[in-house]
């Protein structure tokens, strides 16, 4: 059984007990434990079920590479699935449950899949569930989905109570990894004066060295780590962060880090996670190496673990995985585990070394401790179900015939080490295969390069393929100096490499294992991919490593193949009879380990998901019951219902009140862009279809803007402020887009024109004062002359109104007498209030966007986004009058001359009235005769906007109809959305109301 030893555990504080629960059982651990070590200390070996066969799964590793020990953490709103027990620091009250089983971990119905594993090979689902057709959706797929998946889904209504935030850092050198390599690299760079950020994914520093021991500069590794951290702490130019993972490397030295701020202390204040966006001139990845499992039958049974992990649990947490541990290896390092166990008083019945010659000094040390060593041997099979009970030993060169059976409750395995090259590879760093050490190592001649073509990532230490302490420290020292441009002549810290015999690659144990053994030899524990599966994929022609991965799901589990990929591709290369480097690796993608969605989203949640842009009058709208609609990043009042009034009724009232007397519209959201400079007129002539350069100061002109393809993209009134200055109004949603459009042309094509633009939308509050009494209310406010003579239609003037600085535009989007009045934004609310007060006697009525739309439709004015959709040219909308014939060019002109655009038979703007006065459905199409070659109903037009007009007391619509303007009076059939009901409508003039303009020109 696994248990807490009487003493030991360099990370645990035995004086502080911590209570937690697992699957409802109340357990205790110590401060400093991970959930994994605490569970082991409570003899909880089995922690979950695998993905496909629902096999029992126990801990394999001690760090972020763990594929098996995933738990549901917390419950309700704080429930988090798939949390690694190995990277979960224990805290008081922690609640964890095991995953992927029903009804419980011990008794899992899904385990029946395992009985059929002979049938459920790689890719079996591509070959069956084909007939009968409806069964896939209704029976097979739901079953597979239910069986797959891992952790419990959060509840539909779960609302994460925690907050997340983003940090930004700009450094000379980012060092990722807080082992001795990372510490030394950071120290060397820091001493050279570079601004350094050092991050470490765990809560502790020192990496493997502090577990494995060794002497650095005459100190114990642990002491050296402490000293070095202190030295770093004294450097102002160095910042260190634990619990912070280097997650991803992106172009141009953009690195993401992921800080788990208080996963270990959920009751503390502050954000739960932080996403760091680091811009680093140079990055050193000192990310260490990960031990590989060995592929033998039964290597997935709980109790079979990485040798380094077994050692970690003993040394770091004082926990023994089993009483009797068989160590199996192809290298010297695993002997350290046997020695550590023996020294801790545990039994190691045998070390099974696949190498004929065995190991070096460490083997001698183990033997001296009385441990039996069997060389040239392998494990034929692990015995046990939910827990290892023994192993059978065989000849590594044979086919698995049993030589001896040895009882044990733990197997510590080591297949060698794989450098963590993920971060190096994210942005294009390439790898070389090192035959001697059987590992992929970074190829420094093919590093990821930045904008200047120079490498921006350097790998140091065991991540770089150096496994000896001396080599690691020297490599890290060199890396730290080179990235900081240091010319210091200092030596690297002094240490010795342990004397070790070379590893011998073992990709299958025993090397001639039978099919029955190979189909029990796991490569990917979580996804249940075995040696036999990879061999099957190769046999079936899935020869590319990407095909094999996708066909077998090898390496697609939540550990992304940290343990399985190298073993898998070695198996594939053997099956294909190709060298490992020819087979190559799959692509390393960020993040290094999974990264919470909350951290990615950051602070932008709820109300501030996208900050709402507010006009100076916004609060008034809120206080007066406005119903809002989102328009761009603004919210505009749709209407202002009074108590008990429906939205529809409110809109009708607002239209009538405006037409009868006086309405107010908050028009502040309209885009306002200043275009200034001696070439401003020339520039606007290119931008608009109209001639703007001839506009006189003091005058306004309605303009149309098209894109290069000739399609109408925005409209608005342009006012000429002075000889060099124009103010261009855009639609609310178009302001930012049009400003960017202007800048794009100015910066890329007409960079030598003397024009500047500025988006001043938010500098002004703007109110449309509309209706027969508009002039009266302004006269009542007093100030500038607003008579017809003083400001004629399509003119503007600066002055004061009621003491406010006002720029008054005499323009109309409703057909009424109308003034749009801009005041400085900080006077906006007061001005609005003043208008309301002065307008009281005229039944002043604030109106929203819907009333605005209806009034413009009654007048046949087009609306960008309604009458246009990116496929409409101005000519379609009868706007020929706004297209200058005198200009040689404007954006879209040449496009509009193309064959199809110049076709006089396009769909064109008309008014539409149903025969019975009802409102045409929005978006309805007018059907034509017959069907096209693809059996679709032919059409001849469509509705672009449609309303009930309170002014005319009937439905009115605008639409585009094939050759429409020449078909006035004709009635045509529109199809309802049911595809059956025909609604007939008559083609009429789109100006429904006051076609002479008598109301606006007073």
């Amino acid at each position: 059984m696994s248990t807490r030893l009487a003493s030991g555990g360099r990370l645990t504080n035995r004086s502080k007990q911590i209570e937690f629960s697992f699957d409802g059982k109340r357990l205790t651990g110590f401060e400093g434990d991970t959930l994994a070590s605490a569970l082991l200390a409570n003899d909880q070996m089995m922690l979950g079920r695998s993905f496909k066969y629902h096999r029992p799964r126990g801990l394999v590793a001690s760090g972020s590479e763990e594929p098996n020990a995933l738990v549901n953490l917390g419950k309700g709103d704080t429930h988090e699935p798939n949390q690694r027990a190995t990277t979960t620091e224990l805290f008081s009250g922690l609640e964890a449950t095991s995953q992927n089983h029903w009804p419980n971990l011990d008794m899992d119905i899904g385990a029946v899949n395992g009985l059929f594993s002979r049938f459920l090979t790689a890719g079996f689902y591509y070959k069956m569930f084909i007939h009968p057709r409806p069964f896939w959706k209704h029976i097979y797929e739901p079953f597979i989905r239910q069986s797959a998946g891992l952790g419990k889904a959060p509840k539909a209504e779960a609302r994460d109570p925690d907050t997340y935030e983003h940090f930004y850092a700009y450094v000379d050198v980012l060092v990722i990894g807080g082992g001795v390599a990372g510490l030394q690299a950071a120290k060397a760079a820091g001493e050279a004066g570079a601004k350094v950020l050092l991050v470490e994914q765990t809560a502790h520093w020192g990496g493997r060295a502090v577990v494995d021991g060794g002497t650095i500069d005459g100190m114990e590794a642990e002491e050296w780590v402490k000293t070095t951290l202190e030295a770093l702490g004294k450097m102002d130019n160095v910042q260190v962060r634990s619990r912070t993972m280097g997650a991803g490397v992106y172009d141009h030295g953009y690195i993401l880090c992921y800080e788990r701020v208080r996963d270990h202390a959920p009751l503390a204040g502050g954000p739960r996670h932080r996403m760091w966006k680091v811009r680093a001139k140079q990055t050193v990845t000192a990310t260490g190496a990960i031990e590989r499992p060995l592929s033998f039958a039964g290597n997935d049974i709980p109790g079979v673990m990485l040798a380094s992990a077994v050692r970690d649990y003993v040394v770091n947490y004082g926990v023994s995985v089993g009483d009797r541990t068989v160590v199996v290896t192809n290298n010297d390092d695993a002997y350290r585990t046997a020695i550590a166990l023996k020294k801790a008083g545990m039994d190691v019945p045998v070390i099974v070394d696949a190498r004929q010659m065995g190991g070096g000094a460490l083997m001698d040390e183990a033997k001296a401790l009385g441990i039996r060593v069997e060389t040239g041997r392998g494990i034929a099979k692990v015995k046990g179900g939910k827990r290892v009970t023994g192993v059978t030993i065989c000849n590594q060169q044979g086919e698995g015939a049993m030589i001896e059976e040895i009882a044990c409750d733990c197997v510590a395995m080591s297949g060698g080490w794989s450098p963590v090259v993920h971060l190096w590879s994210h942005c294009g760093g390439k790898l070389n295969w090192d035959d001697a050490q059987a590992m992929f190592r970074p190829d420094h001649d093919r590093a990821p390069t930045s904008h200047d073509g120079k490498p921006f990532v350097t790998v140091a230490g065991s991540a770089n393929g150096y496994l000896g302490l001396k080599d690691v420290l020297e490599d890290a020292d060199t890396a730290g100096k080179s990235v900081s441009g240091s010319s210091a002549m200092t030596d690297a810290p002094k240490a010795e490499n342990a004397e070790e015999k070379p590893l011998e690659p073992v990709w299958l144990m025993p090397q001639g294992a039978s099919y029955d053994l190979r189909m029990k030899a796991w490569l990917d524990y979580q996804n249940d991919v075995k040696v036999s599966d990879v061999q099957l994929a190769a046999r079936e022609g899935y020869e590319s490593v990407e095909h094999t991965k996708r066909y077998t799901t090898l390496g697609m589990a939540t550990d992304q193949g940290k343990l399985s990929n190298i073993n898998g591709l070695a198996t594939l290369s053997n099956a294909l009879n190709e060298a490992i480097p020819q087979v190559g690796t799959t692509t390393f993608r960020p993040p290094y380990t999974p990264f919470s969605m909350g951290a990615i989203a950051g602070e932008a949640r709820g109300d501030i998901f996208q900050p709402i842009r507010k006009t100076p009058m916004h609060q008034w709208h809120m206080d007066n019951g406005a119903e809002f609609e989102p328009v761009g990043h603004w919210r505009r009042p749709y209407c202002f219902p009074k108590a008990g009034e429906s939205k529809h009724d409110a809109v009708m009232r607002e239209v009538r009140a405006t037409r009868d007397s006086l309405g107010l519209l908050d028009a502040s959201t309209l885009g306002k862009i200043i275009v200034k400079g001696s070439d401003a007129g020339k520039f606007l002539d290119m931008l608009y279809t109209n001639m703007m350069s001839t506009l006189k100061p003091g005058k306004c002109r309605y303009g149309l803007m098209c894109n290069e393809n000739g399609f109408l993209s925005d409209d608005g009134v342009v006012a000429r402020i002075d000889e060099d200055t124009f103010l261009c109004h855009t639609t609310t949603g178009g302001a930012d887009r049009i400003h960017a459009h202007m800048e794009e042309w100015l910066q890329t094509e007409w960079w030598d024109w003397k024009v500047y633009t500025a988006n001043v939308t938010e500098q002004y509050a703007q109110v449309a004062v509309v209706g027969p009494n508009a002039r009266k209310v302004l006269e009542k406010l007093g100030g500038m002359d607003v008579s017809k003579e003083a400001i004629a239609f399509m003119e503007w003037k600066d002055g004061t109104l009621g003491g406010y600085n006002a720029r008054v535009y005499r323009i109309s989007f409703s057909g009424e007498l109308s003034y749009e009045i801009a005041v400085p934004a900080n006077q906006g609310r007061d001005f609005w209030d003043a208008l309301l007060e002065a307008g009281a006697e005229f039944n002043v009525t604030p109106y929203g966007t819907e009333a605005l739309h209806i009034m413009r439709a009654e007048k046949g004015f087009i609306m960008i986004g309604d009458e246009t959709d990116g496929t409409i040219i101005p000519q379609d909308l009868g706007l020929h009058w706004a297209i200058s014939k005198k200009k040689e060019d404007y954006l879209g002109k040449r496009a509009q001359e193309r064959l199809h655009m110049a076709d006089p038979n396009r769909w064109q703007l008309v008014g539409l009235e149903t025969l019975d006065g009802s409102v045409l459905p929005d978006g309805a199409y007018a059907v034509g005769e017959g069907y096209n070659a693809n059996k679709q109903r032919n059409t001849q037009g469509r509705v672009t906007s449609t309303y009930y007009s309170p002014t005319l007391n009937k439905g009115i619509a605008m639409g585009i109809v094939h050759n429409g303007p020449n078909r006035m009076g004709e009635d045509i059939p529109f199809m309802a959305v049911d595809g059956e009901t025909i609604i007939r409508a008559k083609i009429v003039n789109p100006v429904f109301f006051d076609p002479e303009g008598a109301k606006q020109n007073v």
Partner: protein, 414 residues
């Protein structure tokens, strides 16, 4: 070809699965073929398949620079829908969708087409009107869609937050027979069927030139030597412009990175695809349990099959807002692919200035869903010179201004 079935699996299980044959032959190029397709992605393989199946043309090679299905076919988010606005788009996507329904049986390869429904959220008044229009258009195009209420949205997707503070859900366009499929399986299934018809699928073979005589194609130069042909189909999304240049013509195409990501797998919690175009993100759940997430394209042109993280950030932020329960899930993996963008965001399936050379490209961000329809129509175009499915997608439309612009209906076009 040995057929796949539960029975075949049982038989093989008893003999250690030693009897499975290769899904597709490992072919080496012959001297010449009637037709060469460049690009063994979904579209290229589907084209070859329908050339054989519908027109009896089987002396065909499909040439692939890397591994088959390794481009956008193996990188997309597997969404299949046909609720497009414009007639030509609706026609080809609906043809594709209907072919997906029977693809597993047709190919004897389970591509796991899952008609679980696609829901496009309307979160502004403008979107409501846009989708109402699409529903009207679809009714005339033979595409079954429906504009549904916010309450119905919540019923279809219980994990959605329909009354978020920023963009409450005002309704949605629901296509119940849309869904997802297993993307790799589509490529593998077609490859197996093509190989079975005697076609050669030649991987790790890069085209380095297009040989012509008197304005007519005669073959291709490749890293495995010259291969002759009468007709050449270029189906190489992401590098269309480069291969077209080898044939001596230019395309109105830009190459842009498009990114996607998945969460760690969880138990089933979402039974349809949801697209939220106002906030720019979409999500579904794979059979494996991962939440599959995508957004818009990056803002710059490029060929690295990765993108900038701020785009991922924007997408995830949008989806955490739309589906708050994913906040504590974790992103497992992000990746990118290179998509062809045309001026009107619609594909090009066309003859070219070079006689015998045909081009199929420009699917932008939404090519996967079109694979069978694209292959069907493009095969017809290559075999007969005309297809009603592809007629409107010719190269000449850019010269004539005959755009098929879907931008109105799709801020995020998947």
């Amino acid at each position: 070809m040995k057929r796949y079935s539960a029975f075949a699996i049982a038989r093989e299980a008893l003999k250690g699965h030693t009897g499975w044959e290769r899904a597709w032959r490992n072919a080496q190029p012959k001297k010449r073929y009637d037709v060469i397709i460049v690009g063994a992605g979904g579209h290229g393989l589907a084209t070859a398949y329908y050339l054989g199946k519908n027109f009896g043309i089987t002396n065909v090679a499909v040439i692939e620079k890397g591994w088959l299905g390794g481009g956008n076919t193996g990188r997309n988010t597997t969404i299949i829908r046909s609720n497009y606005l414009q007639d030509p788009s609706a026609a080809i996507y609906e043809k594709a969708r209907s072919l997906y329904e029977t693809m597993s049986q047709d190919l004897n390869f389970n591509v796991m087409f899952s008609p679980r429904g696609v829901l496009m959220l309307a979160q502004t008044e403008h979107e409501v009107r846009g989708y109402q229009r699409t529903a009207h258009a679809n009714a005339l195009q033979g595409v079954t869609t429906e504009f549904v209420s916010p309450e119905r949205v919540k019923e279809i997707v219980p994990i959605i937050n329909i009354d978020g503070p920023r963009y409450p859900v005002l309704g949605g366009l629901w296509q119940a027979r849309a869904g997802t499929a297993r993307h790799d399986a589509v490529a593998w299934g077609y490859a197996r069927a093509c190989s079975d018809m005697g076609m050669d699928i030649i991987q790790k073979c890069e085209v380095t030139g297009v040989t012509r005589e008197n304005g007519k194609v005669t073959g291709v130069e490749t890293t495995k030597g010259h291969i002759g042909c009468d007709k050449l189909g270029i189906v190489v999304a992401g590098h269309s412009g480069q291969v077209a240049e080898l044939a001596g013509f230019r395309l109105p195409i830009e190459a842009v990175p498009l990114q996607a990501l998945v969460s760690e797998p969880i138990k089933p919690c979402m039974d349809c695809v949801v697209m939220a175009n106002t906030v720019h993100g979409y999500m579904s759940q794979s059979d494996k349990g991962e939440m599959v997430i995508g957004g818009g394209t990056d803002g710059y042109n490029g060929f690295t099959q990765r993108g900038s993280f701020h785009h991922v950030e924007e997408t995830v932020r949008a989806l955490v807002e739309t589906f708050p329960m994913i906040s504590r899930l974790k992103m497992l993996r992000q990746w990118g692919g290179i998509v062809d963008m045309t001026g009107d965001r619609s594909p090009i399936l066309s003859k070219t200035p070079v006689e015998g050379v045909f081009i199929n490209c420009g699917w932008g961000t939404g090519g996967f869903k079109a694979i069978p329809g694209s292959g069907w129509g493009f095969a017809e175009l290559m075999a007969t010179g005309h297809s009603p499915l592809t007629a409107d997608f010719g190269l000449n439309r850019f010269r004539e201004g005959r755009f098929i612009d879907e931008s109105v209906a799709a801020g995020v076009a998947h």
